[in-house]
Amino acid sequence: MNRTVLIIGLLIVAVVVAILFMGLGKDPAHIESPLIGRPAPGFALKAVGSNETIDLTRYRGKPVVLNFWATWCVPCWDEHPVLTANAQMAGDRVQYLGVVFQDEESKIRDFLEQRGWAYPTLVDQAGKTAIAYGVGGVPETYFLDKNGVIVAKFAGPMSAEDIQKNLQKAMQ
């Protein structure tokens, strides 16, 4: 009887240690998005450099790359040319959208005029859209399929390979 009890006890300790060890192996900065597989929260935001309001539903029918960024975010400076080049390559097949939060429109316009823009950039007042998407920091990118469902999330600056890898999920 004692041996059985001892084995059960050891098993429990092993399970607890395994759970804690799994937690240690995780990157604390990486937050798994519960929105994967769910419809993307809808929004209609003002586009920088124009008086147009862009509604996300406008792009239903093609994959969307939704990039949250800000001009004060240094990694976003490195990511910007990668996104611009990919957007130019994709043409009409994929819609790229930038959403800037915690920033000023004049600074965004200056940034884009200096570094170029290939797709609409929208202003997120009071960060409400970022909060609805669960943005924890910038840059952060969400990949939407043609039905407007979030299929992938990438936290941090993306390389061309990262974009293509995640875009493939959105194009399936």
Binding site: N2, I8, G9, I19
Partner: protein, 161 residues
């Protein structure tokens, strides 16, 4: 110009809590009650860009925005549970400073208690076995030698004429 900006503002649409957690189920709060409840609900939410700080305690812009949204939802009559669900829907359980008692979180609490309980069972069963051991295997336990049956027997034999 003002009319144009007004039209533009009306066209703008941000994701609303109603899409995700339904209509408000509480009473709209105002004044001091609203300030107090905003502070309380903000203290239950983790600031996603900080190191272990709540939304109420963090001065970061992200936390200020989240706190502003908590305040707005409370003023519209959303309950604490609805607001926490709304943020959890976007950020997952990570955003809750008091995680729910389910899944892996529950296992981490329950399993050590179970291990302690099993330890107690082992100790008790060992103690019972020692207690039940045959008397011949044990040393005399009494402090008074006159009470010991062995000593009494020896005494009897010595005192016999």
């Amino acid at each position: 110009m003002i009319a144009f900006l007004l039209v533009l503002a009306l066209q703008m649409k941000v994701p609303d809590a109603e899409q995700f957690v339904g209509k408000p189920q509480g009473t709209p709060l105002t004044g001091e009650q609203l300030n107090l409840k905003t502070q309380q609900v903000g203290a239950l939410l983790r600031c996603p860009v900080c190191q272990g700080l709540s939304v109420s305690d963090s001065p970061s812009e992200m936390a200020v925005n989240m706190k502003g949204q908590v305040r707005e939802l409370l003023s519209r009559g959303y309950t604490q549970e609805q607001i926490l669900s709304y943020f959890e829907r976007s950020y997952g359980q990570f955003v809750l400073l008091k995680p729910k008692f389910n899944g892996v979180a529950a296992a981490v609490w329950i399993l050590p208690l179970l291990a302690v309980a099993i330890g107690v069972v082992i100790v008790v069963s060992k103690a019972k076995k020692l207690e039940a051991a045959p008397a011949g295997n044990r040393q005399p336990t009494t402090d008074n030698p006159s009470d010991d049956p062995y000593i009494s027997r020896v005494r009897e034999l010595v005192e016999k004429p």
